[in-house]
């Protein structure tokens, strides 16, 4: 079915942001009629559907679950007072989420975590946390997406499928656009995908190299050896013939500017952090012959912003535990999934995230037994688990704020339309909570 272009609008707002994936496309045009979004230009299918269906399933009033287990509308004061008291009285509180809100709100969240002795964690705990650990251990040859667009002639995607997850990655930054040194766009670039599956990204690539699942670590080690000019004793490594690997290394070595992007297919397979660790070292080695950099394909539009803000405040990127009054971080110990699996938390607040969708079943079971708070814009599985619901606003649509793109570039996201009357921004909600907790602490003294 071909959709007709939208003509029935009375206002166009240009240079808006899409608040969905880590591409943070900031060239979006919103089409408004009577101050409501009726259409969108330049967004991909995911971004467009998220923007246009914004009002669908919206949370519009604060709610508290009553004794019959039904969520009932209440006032902001009642909902905030109750949330503050529960958090203040808890022993092992967890504040989770933050990937889809602004850095301004995240900073308020970190302050709350600090004064309440909470664990504060974000979606990195289930995605690129392992990559960040590797960056902190062995460094990270960085690049911006602008550099890639203007300079890169060889692009390698490993264990990631941006055609489906970050749909405009290829069209906006890596493959199709005309760049300063890549005047002919696609024709000036070689695209290679390494993936166990024949993904949609593999389909549009010049080369697809299929390797065995969970053997990334072996594969990258073998590539390092070949780059050093060493011979491999084996005819095949990780399911790839040595000849194919030699050809790949030749292309990578001869690149004028190489850019490697990797996804959860690297950071969450068997060797996890160590996959990324050895991949970083491969990229470092390649810089003896050419210019190479790398980036993880970050999922939510500000998942990276949380890591940056938390690292600047505490030195640790995620899973930070303030229970002893100073920040601590231990994978498996202070990370959300592990804490829930161990049945430790006695309070759980999710801000702009839906653990009901993201977490494993066994983990979610514990949420049924403890006080749970939702700060979010839309009704979702986590709403069904929540005891208190605090409805918030969309950053980049109803609220302005700052977010960090996957390449750690901060972008300002402007407000386009007014918020629903009884909703408030995450930043406002967290500021109010902070005030109330401070008050309770003073009463205790």
């Amino acid at each position: 079915m071909i959709e007709k272009p939208i003509k029935d609008y009375d206002k166009e707002v240009k240079n808006c942001s899409c608040s969905y994936c880590g591409n943070n496309c900031d060239d979006i045009t919103y089409l408004l009629k009577n101050d409501e979004i009726v259409g969108v230009r330049h967004a991909c299918r995911i971004g467009a559907s998220k923007i246009i269906n914004d009002q669908d399933q919206r949370l519009l009033s604060p709610m508290i679950r009553n004794d019959e287990g039904i969520l009932e509308e209440t006032t902001w004061d009642v909902a905030l007072d109750k949330t503050a008291r529960l958090l203040h009285n808890s022993t092992r509180p967890v504040l989770y989420g933050w990937g889809e809100t602004s850095v301004e709100a995240i900073k308020k969240g970190i302050k709350i975590a600090e004064i309440t002795g909470s664990v504060i964690d974000n979606q990195s705990t289930i995605c690129h946390g392992t990559s960040i650990q590797a960056f902190q251990n062995v460094g990270h040859p960085v690049m911006t997406l602008g550099e890639v667009k203007n300079r890169a002639d060889v692009i390698v995607y490993v264990g990631t499928n941006p055609m489906d997850d970050h749909p405009r990655h290829l069209s906006r930054y890596t493959t199709f656009p005309e760049g300063f040194f890549r005047r002919n766009g696609r024709q000036d670039r070689t695209i290679i995908t390494l993936d166990p599956k024949y993904t949609n990204t593999a389909k549009v690539s010049d080369k697809w190299i299929q390797f065995n699942m969970d053997e990334d670590y072996l594969l990258f080690n073998a590539l390092r050896m070949l780059l050093k000019g060493e011979e491999l004793e084996e005819k095949e490594v990780a399911g790839v013939s040595t000849q194919q690997l030699e050809e790949l290394i030749k292309i990578m070595k001869n690149a004028e500017y190489g850019a490697l992007f990797f996804g959860l297919g690297v950071s969450q397979t068997l060797a996890k952090q160590k996959n990324v660790d050895v991949l970083i070292q491969l990229i470092e080695d390649l810089n003896r012959y050419s210019k190479w950099s790398m980036l993880p394909m970050r999922g939510f539009f500000n998942v990276s912003g949380f890591n940056i803000a938390l690292t600047s405040e505490t030195g640790y990127p995620y899973g930070v535990d303030f229970s002893r009054g100073y920040p601590r971080f231990m994978v498996g110990e202070t990370t959300t999934i592990d804490l829930l699996n161990r049945r430790e938390p006695d309070f759980f607040m999710a801000v702009s995230a839906d653990p009901g969708v993201q977490f494993p079943g066994y983990t979610i079971k514990h949420l049924v037994n403890i006080p749970t708070i939702q700060v979010d814009t839309h009704w979702g599985p986590y709403t069904e688990l929540s005891d208190i619901v605090l409805p918030s606003t969309r950053v980049g649509v109803e609220t302005e704020g700052t977010a960090y793109r996957m390449d750690s570039i901060p972008l300002f996201m402007k407000k386009v339309i007014d918020k629903p009357k009884n909703c408030h921004s995450d930043e406002w909600i967290l500021t109010e909570l902070y005030k109330r907790i401070e008050q309770l602490k003073q009463e205790d003294e």
Binding site: Q136, Y217, N221, M225, K228, E233, S323, M330, E333, E344
Partner: protein, 262 residues
């Protein structure tokens, strides 16, 4: 000899932290002072007596002669013997995270299993675990380039992933099997594994020695077979049998040795 006997009376799902329960901190304390020692539970601080019955036997002049004997289900007690420098701790149960981590001296015995981070970054002393151990045993903490740099770890059971990550010195003896990535980034020290290793031993290893008495499916491409040696003398000890010597990791111009029994 002074023995401080602790018997657990209350277990929570929220783990408690035991950093203050060390021979060097308690050897000269009275019963009441020991009962009042601070235990951390989440964001709360509580006295030891909330969780343990305390009893003292004998007396001592220094921490070397002090033994802390802990009974009960300790599977939610973290940091037993954390940064300990002398004396002895015996934990008669499974224990939680960080047992013996950062220890510089003394002796810890765990009569059960241990969670992850056992003996991490230890520089001295002996940590003996009679059961299995989870991940990152004898390794470095996140973001740190230096793992275990002294002392001895003896594990009677199996160990999880990333044993001795970034190890610099010291000795580890694993009597059971070992999961992936043992000795990764190792630049010194000695590891003996009596059981089997899943795969990927010694990646990015610069120096140090690993002896494997069990089986391994395949070696990383950075390791080169050198020779077969009968009854080799390794790290001052004779190993009986035929051993294949590999060196590597060539990826980092490493000169580590991996000896595998045929």
């Amino acid at each position: 000899m002074k023995a401080i006997n602790l018997v657990m009376t209350r277990k929570n799902s929220i783990a408690i932290e035991f950093d203050n329960i060390l021979p060097e901190l308690l050897f000269d304390k009275s019963l009441t002072q020991i009962q009042d020692s601070i235990i951390y539970m989440g964001n709360k601080q509580l006295p030891l007596s909330e969780f343990f019955e305390v009893e003292i036997e004998g007396d001592c002049q220094n921490s070397e002669d002090c033994l802390i004997n802990i009974e009960g289900d300790l599977s939610r007690v973290k940091r037993i013997g954390f940064a300990m420098n002398s004396g002895k701790i015996i934990a008669n149960s499974n224990v939680d995270f960080h047992v013996g981590a950062l220890m510089t001296g003394g002796h810890i015995t765990v009569n059960g299993d241990a969670e992850s981070y056992a003996g991490r970054e230890m520089t001295g002393g002996t940590l003996e675990i009679k059961g299995n151990v989870k991940e990152f045993c004898g390794s470095s903490y996140a973001g740190e380039w230096r793992g275990m740099s002294g002392g001895q770890i003896i594990i009677h059971g199996n160990v999880g992933k990333q044993l001795a990550d970034f190890m610099l010195d010291g000795k580890i003896h694993i009597r059971g099997n070992c999961d992936i990535l043992a000795g990764v980034h190792m630049s010194g020290g000695f590891i003996q594994i009596d059981g089997n290793v899943t795969q990927w031993i010694g990646g990015q290893m610069k120096k140090g020695i690993i002896v494997l008495n069990g089986k391994i499916d395949s070696m990383l491409p950075g390791f080169v077979f050198q020779e077969i040696v009968h009854n080799p003398l390794i790290n001052g000890q004779y190993f009986i049998g035929k051993y294949r010597l590999y060196s590597g990791d060539r990826g980092v111009n490493g000169k580590g040795q991996i000896w595998i029994k045929e």
